[in-house]
Amino acid sequence: MTASLLEIERINSFYGDSHILFDVSLHVGRNEVVALLGRNGAGKTTTLRTIMGVLAPRSGSIRLDGEPIAGRPPFEIARRGLQLVPEERAIFGQLTVEENLRLAALTAPSAWTLDRIYEFFPRLRERRRSGGRQLSGGEQQMLAIARALIRDARVILLDEPFEGLAPLIVRDLVRVSRELAEQGRTILVVEQNVTAALSFADRVYILNNGHIVWEGTPEALRSDPALMKAHLGI
């Protein structure tokens, strides 16, 4: 197997004095969609934040296309093509939809055009003059994903994209995620909604109390109810 696009080796992350991630290793190949599952507080969000550079790991290495990025500030990591879509979405409420997108595209080496984004998310075209805070939860999530797409990110880190959304909206977003996967986007997704995540992932890791405890295919996980129950509580 050729080297992975994103390689994480034995990272240890802390919040203050509390040790959150213990020797976490995982890799995401080019054009691969990897799901990182686990219970609340398992360290999933911390893993994504560490990869993005929001939190510096105390030890371990993170490589993007072979280049070490651990310890770099988020803006440099973003410029190298990694993009976190945070759990809270972090839409700029005072900026319009279009301004949110233009801001995201500012430092992208090869940005998508607004038109291409709007073709992908027609709803955002309708709402392009609306302020970020006027958007519904689903529209905010679309915009959050669109900001990563307009940067043409090489790896997208999706943190709980379906959280707190109505089932109908989740179905829409799952369809969008599948489309992205089919387009060959490289994605590392963290999700509580296991069914939704498994529907577009190629490979799965399970995180438990800051340790990677399982790695395998969605099929293998689905066919092992005991495993699901032990680590995911379902």
Partner: protein, 283 residues
């Protein structure tokens, strides 16, 4: 009861003071909103602008000075305090303000100095219903133009986009690939320049003395509380409202002008704690 012409004239004075407060407060509020730093040196920077006007006759020379002071202050001092608690930031900017004030006192002495009205601003204009000093009228126009320029920078340029986004969530701006620290320097310099330029423009109207900034600093704080922390439209509207309150109250009894300003602020804090244009949440 004051006469109608007096009230009208005071209303114009209020507009002159108000636009000036708007400009001073815009800088203060943008720095607070993006950097999260309450810049207590802002009043002293205003004072330095006025002295610069006294020393350097040409305005171009003094703008350069304001930029130089701004860059030096951010790179040399304030930058080191972004991650520190607010108390530390207040202490360091307050301290910088005292140092600036005392440097001015050491160089120019404690006596009030007067700056002559520029040659193009001499005389009085007859507005038909009112005689009004030419320079004050020009002042309103110049500051209005500067506020419009600031508006265009904030709402029509990429740096403005970064600043407005940074006011809301500086961390997310960084996650989107933007070097927020570099944007912070630009914001700080823009803020300092507004203070310095305001001081220069106002120098011919008031007496220039080392402590002149402290009163403006307090009034600018009131303006951003009224307008909403971190809001540029809030600083503009808040500034004009504050200027009119001070000027119109003075027409009745000058001793009550500050009291009236605080009363309005207190009332607003009860009815709308986030200020006229503020949003709840991050400060």
């Amino acid at each position: 009861m004051p006469s109608a012409p007096l009230l009208l004239s005071q209303a114009f004075n209020g507009l002159a003071l108000g636009t000036l407060l708007a400009l001073v407060s815009s800088g203060l509020t943008i720095i607070l909103g993006t950097l999260g730093v309450l810049n207590f040196a802002h009043g002293a920077l205003f004072m330095l602008g006025a002295y610069a006007m006294y020393v350097v006759a040409t305005a171009t020379g003094s703008y350069v000075l304001a930029v130089v002071v701004g860059v030096a202050l951010e790179r040399g001092l304030v930058r080191l305090f972004y991650a520190r608690p607010h108390e530390d930031q207040i202490l360091v900017t307050f301290g910088a303000g005292i140092v600036f004030t005392e440097i001015a006192r050491a160089i120019f002495g404690g006596n009030a100095l007067t700056v002559p009205t520029p040659s193009w601003g001499q005389g009085i204009v007859h507005l038909g219903f009112l005689f009004y000093p030419t320079y004050r009228l020009q002042l309103i126009g110049i500051i209005a133009a500067l506020l419009i320029a600031l508006y265009l920078v904030l709402y029509r340029t990429s740096i403005g986009l970064v600043v407005r986004a940074g006011i809301e969530d500086a961390r997310m701006v960084g996650i989107l690939g933007i070097n927020v620290r570099r944007a912070f320097l630009a914001v700080f310099v823009i803020g300092v320049v507004t203070a310095g330029v305001s001081g220069m423009l106002y120098a011919p109207i008031i007496s220039v003395e080392p402590d002149m900034g402290s009163n403006f600093l307090v009034q600018a704080f009131v303006v951003i509380v009224i307008g909403g922390l971190g809001s540029f439209p809030g600083a503009v509207v808040g500034g004009i409202v504050a200027g009119e309150i001070i000027a119109l109250t003075s027409a009745f009894n000058a001793a009550y002008s500050d009291v009236m300003l605080y009363a309005v602020m207190a009332l607003l804090l009860v009815l709308r704690p986030q200020g006229l244009f503020g949003s709840e949440g991050r400060v």
